[in-house]
Structure formats: structure tokens, C-alpha cells
């Protein structure tokens, strides 16, 4: 493959419930430190959630934060961190050749709920409905706020892809770079979903909202006693470039995106489908021109819902049984970061290229036999020695599946 068709990650910015930089996030994943806490919601009262505590004012003024959205603030923080990490000479970067591609599960719920709450104090007089509502709720909000903050005049898209969105941001970036639409992509995923009661209430109505007396033990993918999702906020954004572009400027290269795929179940609004998930994984490996024996770590999507975990385990068994790939799960630490999940889960694993360790899936005390998996990394990180390839699953409602495969850059 030509260097201009090879796509690499050159900068990383993130905020997760257990870390506001890659180093902090990674360390806490290796230390088994959860980011799930008790959290108060409007109307519903106490729930459990993954809450981020990044420095909002590092890249935004108070007025920007007031005017924009939480998703926008998360995206702005992560995008600036990524660009800084990438060592780009930002004032001299051709901003019309930069694209912003940010995945998101949902958008507008938080802002609409806030406005309805506000007008409820005025007998629902719509004359006090905010003029900020529309720019806050347009579907391109998060990526658009990044362009405003960073002076980026290339294309921007916020990609609505349910919980497959984090991977979708990277995939869109790779495609646009290969089409030569942009030279640098600022790509990944974000979530502000903990700020709307509706997400929690809907999962609760579905019987899929996790409860536990100890918040840190609430998210239990593959465990027989799992009882649902822990909703989280967060963001993971990278600078992504063609290899030729990265090499020309002497960039540090974290990883190469060697394969990806997206497909649809076309079956159910909420229930996943192992068959289509397996097809998505196979297609990503085919495009990456690798076979199952070359995958070292599989970053599972499992959210700790009963059927979701069973279906993914089924898909993974049929592909990875007999292989040496180990399987882990990042949600068990931070909850389900929705649109950011795919990005954070890939980035949490990425440092294994350097340290050779696979972080675990925690809170797995008693494996659900229906989720039996080969080489599941149980509760403690595992030394692998060498890690060359990571496969990252991310699936979402309405049957949307996404898989990204990254490889250690080896020249």
C-alpha cells in the first residue's frame, strides 16, 4: 500500500471518568481503578454514572462554555489536547485542509431537557425559550464547536452512529484522508449523555440500567450478576493523517489504522445480532489483510446487558476460539461512554503497543456461561510481551456495528 493510503494516529486527547490524559487513563486501567460514581439526575434522583472532571477552562472561556454544550466542551478539550500532543505547528497549519469528524450517540436531549425545565418555571411560556437552543442542538454541534474554537475551516461532521460512533469517527477520518479531502483529521467520539435524565430513564424502563451498592462494581460485563448499563460521559479524539504527511513533518506515530468495517443488523431496534457483528469483524480483518492469528487484543464492546453480552460473546467465540487473541473490556472501569466508548476503548488499549500489557475486564466474579470466551483477561492485567494488533468493537442501537483494527507502526 502506498504511504498516502496508509493512515496513522499521531496525537491523542481524551477525557474519561478515570483519567484526563492517555497516561492517566492507561495507568488507572492497569491499576483497576474505576471511574463510576454516585450521580444525581433531575427527576430520577440518584443513579450511577461515569463522570469526567477535566479542566474546561484550559481551552475555553466561561462564556464559550455557557453558550455551547457539554459535548462541545468535551470535544474542544480533547481536540486541543490531541493537536498539542501531535506536535503540530498549529498557527501555520492550513486549517482549510483539516477536517473534524466526531462520533456521537445522541445529541440535543440534554439541551432540550434543560430548556423545557427552564420554561416549566414560567408556566411553559415559550417566549422564554432560549435563542441558544438551535445552535446547541443542531446535529453538527460538537464538531462545529471544535472548528469555532480552533479556527478550522475544513469540513466538519458530527456522526450520529449510536454507540458505534467512536469507531465511526475514525473510519470517516480514514476515508476522507484517503480521498485527499483533508490532510489532517481531528477524529473520534464524545458523549454528554449523563446530563439528560432521559437516557437513564429509558434504560431503566428497558430493564437495562445498572444498580449496585458499590458504584465501582456496577459495570460487570460478562458477569452472571450483571444488571445493566452504567452511562458515562467522555471523549476520545485523535489527530489522524496519511502516513506520507506524518512522515514529512516528522510526527510521532502512535498506531496505524489498517482495517475497519461498518454494517447493519437490519433486524431489531435494540437487540444486537451476533451474525452481523461477526461479519463486521471478518470484513475489517479482510480489509486489513490480516488473519485471526495476527490479532493480539480484542477490545470488546460488551455493555453488561444480558443479551448484548451474549451476542457479542457468540460472535467472538466463532472467530477467536483457538486463537491467541486476548479479550478485554474497558466499560467495566468507566461505564458506557456512548459516542465516546469506541474511541476511549481503543485508546485505552493502544499503549499496549509499548508496554505489552492487556488491561483486564474488571468486576467479573462469576462468568455467565453463555458469555464464555477464549482468553478473557479476568480482573488483572496480563503481560503479553509483544502486542502488534488491536481489534476494537463498537456496536449500537438500530443494529449499527463498527470495527477498527490498529497496528503498531513498524515503518
Amino acid at each position: 500500500m502506498l504511504d498516502q493510503d496508509r493512515i496513522v494516529i499521531t496525537g491523542i486527547g481524551l477525557t474519561s471518568p478515570n483519567g484526563n490524559s492517555l497516561a492517566e487513563f492507561r495507568q488507572n486501567l492497569l491499576n483497576g481503578k474505576s471511574g463510576v460514581v454516585n450521580y444525581e439526575t433531575r427527576y430520577m434522583g440518584p443513579v450511577l454514572a461515569g463522570v469526567c472532571n477535566f479542566d474546561e477552562l484550559r481551552y475555553q472561556k466561561k462564556k464559550d462554555i455557557r453558550r455551547g454544550t457539554r459535548a462541545g466542551s468535551i470535544a474542544v478539550y480533547c481536540a486541543n489536547e490531541a493537536v498539542r500532543d501531535a506536535g503540530l505547528d498549529w498557527p501555520n497549519v492550513a486549517r482549510d485542509r483539516v477536517g473534524v469528524y466526531i462520533g456521537i450517540t445522541e445529541h440535543g436531549n440534554v439541551e432540550t431537557e434543560n430548556e423545557i425545565y427552564e420554561i416549566s418555571k414560567f408556566q411553559y411560556d415559550t417566549k422564554v425559550w432560549s435563542h441558544h437552543h438551535n445552535p446547541r442542538t443542531v446535529a453538527n454541534n460538537a464538531a462545529g464547536e471544535v472548528t469555532l474554537n480552533m479556527g478550522i475551516t475544513g469540513p466538519h461532521l458530527t456522526l450520529g452512529a449510536a454507540c458505534a460512533a467512536g469507531n465511526a469517527g475514525f473510519i470517516q477520518a480514514a476515508q476522507m484522508l484517503r480521498l485527499d479531502e483533508v490532510d489532517i483529521a481531528v477524529a473520534g467520539g464524545v458523549s454528554e449523555s449523563i446530563h439528560t435524565f432521559g437516557i437513564f430513564a429509558s434504560f431503566a424502563a428497558q430493564g437495562a440500567l445498572a444498580t449496585h451498592e458499590d458504584p465501582t462494581k456496577a459495570c460487570r460485563p460478562f458477569d452472571i450478576n450483571r444488571n445493566g448499563i452504567v452511562v458515562a460521559e467522555g471523549g476520545g479524539i485523535c489527530t489522524v493523517e496519511r502516513l506520507s504527511h506524518a512522515l514529512a513533518r516528522g510526527a510521532k506515530i502512535y498506531a496505524e489504522i489498517i482495517g475497519y468495517a461498518m454494517n447493519s443488523d437490519a433486524r431489531d431496534f435494540v437487540l444486537p445480532d451476533a451474525n452481523r457483528q461477526a461479519e463486521c469483524i471478518q470484513l475489517a480483518m479482510k480489509r486489513a489483510k490480516i488473519n485471526v492469528d495476527q490479532i493480539d487484543i480484542v477490545s470488546s464492546h460488551a455493555t453488561a446487558t444480558e443479551q448484548g453480552d451474549i451476542e457479542e460473546a457468540s460472535a467472538l467465540r466463532r472467530i477467536f476460539a483457538g486463537s491467541n487473541a486476548v479479550i478485554n473490556n474497558t466499560k467495566s472501569f468507566i461505564g458506557h461512554a456512548m459516542g465516546a466508548a469506541g474511541a476511549l476503548e481503543m485508546l485505552g488499549n493502544l499503549p499496549s503497543f509499548d508496554d505489552g500489557i492487556a488491561h483486564a475486564t474488571i468486576n467479573l466474579d462469576e462468568l455467565d456461561p453463555r458469555c464464555a470466551l477464549p482468553n478473557l483477561v479476568l480482573n488483572q492485567p496480563r503481560e503479553l510481551g509483544t502486542v502488534n494488533c488491536i481489534l476494537n468493537n463498537s456496536f449500537g442501537m438500530l443494529g449499527i456495528n463498527s470495527v477498527v483494527i490498529i497496528r503498531k507502526y513498524q515503518g
Binding site: 462564556k63 417566549k127 422564554v128 435563542h131
Partner: protein, 87 residues
């Protein structure tokens, strides 16, 4: 409300919608926009805050009266003369 009380209300609104600004030396006769970053959306925030706090409907053709602190206070004084602070 008195002129001073209205001025204080407007200052508090400005502090909320422009939290990065130092309003200590705000000149009452100079336009707000010459002294602080205030765009059309911020300006609408002033109108909205007054609507929420005092149920005042300010028609668009009157917006030019709100360009300065002095203008805003004199515009609001007759409209808020029978209103208690914090009402």
C-alpha cells in the same frame, strides 16, 4: 425600582452572560460593545433575562435603547418603577 437598582440588575445580568469580563470600570455612556465582547446573541440574552425576571417584553424596534448602561436604565425606569427588586 430606582435607577441605581436597575443598574445593579443589569450589571448582574452582564456578569452572567459575559462571565470573563471585568465590569468594574464600565462606562455608563459608552456602548456596551465598545467595552466588552458582546455579540447579537449576548444582546438577546439581556432581553431574555429581563423577560424572565420582570416579564418585560421589549420590542425589537426598541433594542437600540439598550446600547449603553445609561440608555438601558432610562428605558427601563418607567417600565419598572412599580416593580420591586428581585420580583
Amino acid at each position: 425600582m430606582t435607577s441605581d437598582q436597575i443598574r445593579q440588575v443589569i450589571l448582574e445580568i452582564l456578569e452572567r452572560i459575559a462571565p470573563d469580563e471585568d465590569l468594574t470600570d464600565l462606562d455608563d455612556v459608552r456602548p456596551f460593545r465598545e467595552q466588552m465582547e458582546l455579540d447579537s446573541m449576548d444582546f438577546l440574552d439581556i432581553v431574555m433575562e429581563l423577560r424572565k425576571m420582570y416579564r418585560i417584553q421589549i420590542p425589537e424596534e426598541d433594542y437600540s435603547n439598550l446600547n449603553t448602561m445609561a440608555g438601558t436604565v432610562s428605558y427601563l425606569l418607567p417600565r419598572l418603577k412599580d416593580v420591586a427588586v428581585g420580583a
